[in-house]
């Protein structure tokens, strides 16, 4: 089969970029809420829980994601025997664990940066805890974490390429095949365009969100 720019684009998009995109999307979808739960653990008044969660977050943020991918994929099989996880499942699990911890720390910072006066103003007006969180605090937290979250999320776009260490198809893996099968290296360079376009779109999206929340200061 003839290798053309068009055929490479199609191949990279369908067999490489789409799996990359779904790894990215599923990771975000799961780790954004899981991060909130972990952040509640980080801020818990129950000391043992707080220490446990802090320790987990320390380990996850303190070791390479590459290593975590390998551990999640091979670890359970080595320890308990039995079948290994499906590769994409292991990749998603490792990414979700890793990113939830980073998100949790960002959420914690955002929540703790809201002044006590905001909570107290809600309290003396007779609001419930839930009302104070959802109607008073949440939007202010979102405004404050949008910049650090966008950093992490754009890093995630590029981190998806690490999934290849446990042989999960993603765009660089597909591009690299052209070296072996067709002796061509440019498809590998070409993958950069996909990353750039995607992260560029995300940057626009985040800028838009920041603009949307520009109407108030907090």
């Amino acid at each position: 089969m003839e290798v053309t720019l068009r055929s490479v684009t199609e191949d990279l998009f369908l067999n490489g970029f789409l799996p990359t995109l779904s790894l990215f999307g599923i990771t975000l979808l799961l780790s954004i809420p899981l991060g909130l739960i972990i952040s509640l653990g980080l801020m818990s008044k129950f000391k043992p829980l707080k220490m446990l969660v802090s320790a987990v977050v320390w380990v996850i943020r303190g070791t390479p994601l590459l290593l975590q991918l390998i551990v999640v994929y091979y670890g359970p099989g080595l320890i308990w025997g039995g079948k290994l996880l499906e590769r994409p499942v292991a990749a998603i699990a490792a990414f979700v664990i890793n990113y939830s911890c980073y998100f949790a720390v960002i959420y914690k910072g955002g929540i703790e940066s809201i002044s006590r006066g905001q909570y107290e103003a809600g309290q003396v007006l007779g609001m419930t805890k839930a009302q104070i969180f959802f109607k008073v605090v949440l939007l202010q937290v979102i405004k404050r974490i949008i910049a650090p979250m966008s950093n992490e999320i754009i890093t995630l776009v590029k981190d998806t390429s690490l999934a290849r260490v446990i042989s999960v198809y993603e765009i660089i893996w597909v591009a690299q095949d052209y070296i072996k099968t067709a002796g061509l290296i440019w498809p590998l360079f070409y993958t950069a365009a996909f990353y750039l376009v995607f992260s560029g779109l995300l940057t626009l999206l985040f800028n838009f969100c920041e603009k949307k929340l520009d109407y108030f200061k907090s």
Binding site: G117, Q118, A121, Q123, G126, T128, K135, V136, F216
Partner: protein, 252 residues
């Protein structure tokens, strides 16, 4: 029956006792000013009344109903706590408006969440309050677009929207530039004319003297002196009060 009775209120933080048995009563429609040295426990007293802080001992009685009695009341369920808080309103030194809402939305948020009145009633009430604080034109401004004095006036309207029995102010003008204090004090004076029961912690001696029915001078967690403005300002009995007033007059 007094609208508020505070009996022997005691509060400590760790080993330091901040309120050492506070006693006073307040009648409906009265304005009580609390003056005193910084660190004397004035803020803590207001925070205890508003159930943001819990005393270890003592009673708070509103309209004859004991709403707080000793430590056991600090373990009340959230719902009871909220009902208790509704007896009081609190205007903070730092305004604490909700930045993402307009002036009008700030005023309407809590009544809406309370869900007792219809949307139309709440909106009408908010517009009346905005007129009362003289900010009808700025109803749709966000707090960041308002001056400190305007923000504090909105905070007053926001507290009034919940129709508290007693409205408390914690140094409402201390965070303001001097030229902005007048407009806030004017709003508070206006409330007195409409018979709002108020407790005002303030450093504005002229204001305390002209507006209050009662004045309390607090120092080191105790009420050193209590009486009419004439009694406290013109004929203070306690040496501490005299020293404080002399010091304040020196500065002015």
């Amino acid at each position: 029956m007094s609208i508020l009775e505070v009996k022997n209120l005691k509060k400590s933080f760790g080993s330091s006792t901040v309120l050492k048995g506070i006693n006073f009563t307040l009648e409906k429609g009265e304005v009580l000013s609390i003056i005193g040295t910084s660190g004397g426990g004035k803020t803590t007293l207001l925070r205890c009344l508003n159930s943001l802080e819990f005393a270890e001992e003592g009673q708070i009685i509103v309209n004859g109903e004991v709403i707080f009695e000793g430590e056991s009341f600090s373990k009340q369920k959230e719902k009871e706590l909220r009902l208790r808080r509704l007896h009081f309103g609190l205007v903070f030194q730092q305004f604490n408006l909700f930045p993402q809402y307009t002036a009008r939305e700030n005023i309407m948020l809590a009544p809406k969440l309370m869900g007792k009145e219809s949307k139309e009633q709440i909106e009408q009430e908010a517009d009346k309050l905005l007129a009362r604080i003289g900010l009808t034109e700025k109803a749709d401004y966000y707090p960041c677009m308002l001056s400190g004095g305007q923000q504090q006036r909105v905070a007053i309207a926001r507290a009034l929207a919940m129709k508290p029995d007693i409205l408390c102010f914690d140094e409402p003008t201390s965070a303001l530039d001097p030229e902005l204090t007048g407009e806030v004090l004017k709003v508070i004076k206006g409330l007195k004319d409409s018979d709002t029961t108020m407790i005002v912690v303030t450093h504005e001696m002229g204001f305390a003297q002209s507006v209050s029915d009662k004045v309390i001078f607090m120092a080191q967690g105790q009420i050193e002196e209590m009486g009419t403005p004439e009694e406290v300002f013109e004929h203070p009995k306690s040496e501490k009060t005299k020293a404080f007033l002399a010091h304040v007059n020196d500065k002015d």
